[in-house]
Amino acid sequence: MENKRCDYLIDYFNGLLSENDSRQFEQHLQQCEDCQKELQEFKALTEDLPLHMKQVDPPEGMKDRVLDHVMTNDPVPSNQFIKKKNSKLPIWSGVLAAALLLSVGVNIYTTVEMQQLSSENENLNAQLSDAQLAISELQEEQEDEEDTGVASPEQTASLVPLEENGFTGMATVTDNGEGPELLVQVQNMEALHGDEVYQVWLIEEETPVASGSFVIDEHGVGGVSYHMSGEMEQNWESVAVSKEPQPGNEQPEGEILLESEL
């Protein structure tokens, strides 16, 4: 019997359903023999049609370009470089490792997600100390593993305080295969109150673009990782950090505290 759910088959096959709808359809699929049979037909078609197509000659040099692309965009080095079995992360240079761990352990906070952030502060702090522990372990490990071939960050810059405030930080642009990513990590920052956040800005021709925000732990340490998707073509001149009264600002309200040229 045709059921309303059966109508989702085409969009399911073409990967057009939301994750939720997709899951619901898969549940329906378990019980609906019609859909199973029809999906099987569609799949058989995918397997079959290419075999009836005339093969086209690829453009010259495509093989090298494709394989190069895979190797240069791979976050994990190929097996001649693989190191300790217990280390899941590639060994990056110290600061980058820190920033990466922050991004892994702390979650990635985009501007939108920041709305819920202040209530999660405590949780965040706990994760931060874990991350720091991991960083120091990683740095120790790294010392006896210098010069082993690993992907290197594209750009790293020190963030310089604009006043004598003692704040420090690093900004790194890297690419782990999912597009360029800006990693910012700071130390010795002053405590935030209420909804305040530290906001990262990418700046081109004096126009700042909000590029992720973060809060800090009780030691004044914090960081954020920000996907620069689609914006990498732009010629960013500098990266800056300001303190904003609330997350989600499109334009800085607070003063720029740290800055670095890219």
């Binding site: 059966c6 109508d7 088959l9 085409i10 969009d11 073409n14 990967g15 057009l16 029809e38 037909e41 569609f42 799949k43 078609l45 995918t46 397997e47 079959d48 049609l49 290419p50 009836h52 197509m53 005339k54 093969q55 086209v56 000659d57 690829p58 453009p59 495509m62 093989k63 370009r65 494709v66 394989l67 692309h69 895979v70 190797m71 965009n73 791979d74 994990v76 080095p77 190929s78 097996n79 693989i82 295969g177």
Partner: protein
Amino acid sequence: MGKPTDKELYERIQMKDKAALELMYDRYEKLLYSLAYRITKDPHFSEEVMQDVFMKLWNGKGAGQYNEDKGKFSSWLLTVTRNTSIDLLRKKKEVEYQWDERDSLQEEIPSVEKEVEDQEKRDELTEAMDTLPDEQQRMIYLFYFQGLSQQNISKVCELPVGTVKGRIRLALKKLRENLATERRVDHGK
């Protein structure tokens, strides 16, 4: 030493064996490229698809994760390639859709005459498609090669949404019959 199977190669690729990736590439380059080209109709897009597919294979996660539940390896890899191709097509066309969904969809309807003139590109699939009525060709084209939603197919073909699936299945059934006939003619099977 015999040739490694697809599955063995895939497993070596998951161990980040670069040589295995190259072997896999050589084995499938033409087939996958031809499929991508058939869908995107553009050599640059097709190369982008190839990069994406082999990136997925190398990373082995999400869409690039293969196991035996997914059927034969070659079928799975073709599915990944088709999906990557229609995804890319959608991305490139997103701007157009926003501009005027209806008009740009109309442009995608294949010109049957042009395909016939283009003797170079003729193959079993084209032959088998040509014998179908225009409407059936269009259903297959929009559904399989463009990956359009049921809703959009109904709009473009001016059919009630509820009838789209039935029409697609009918068209596919016809196409399969034609392909079987082609095979017999071409290879005396």
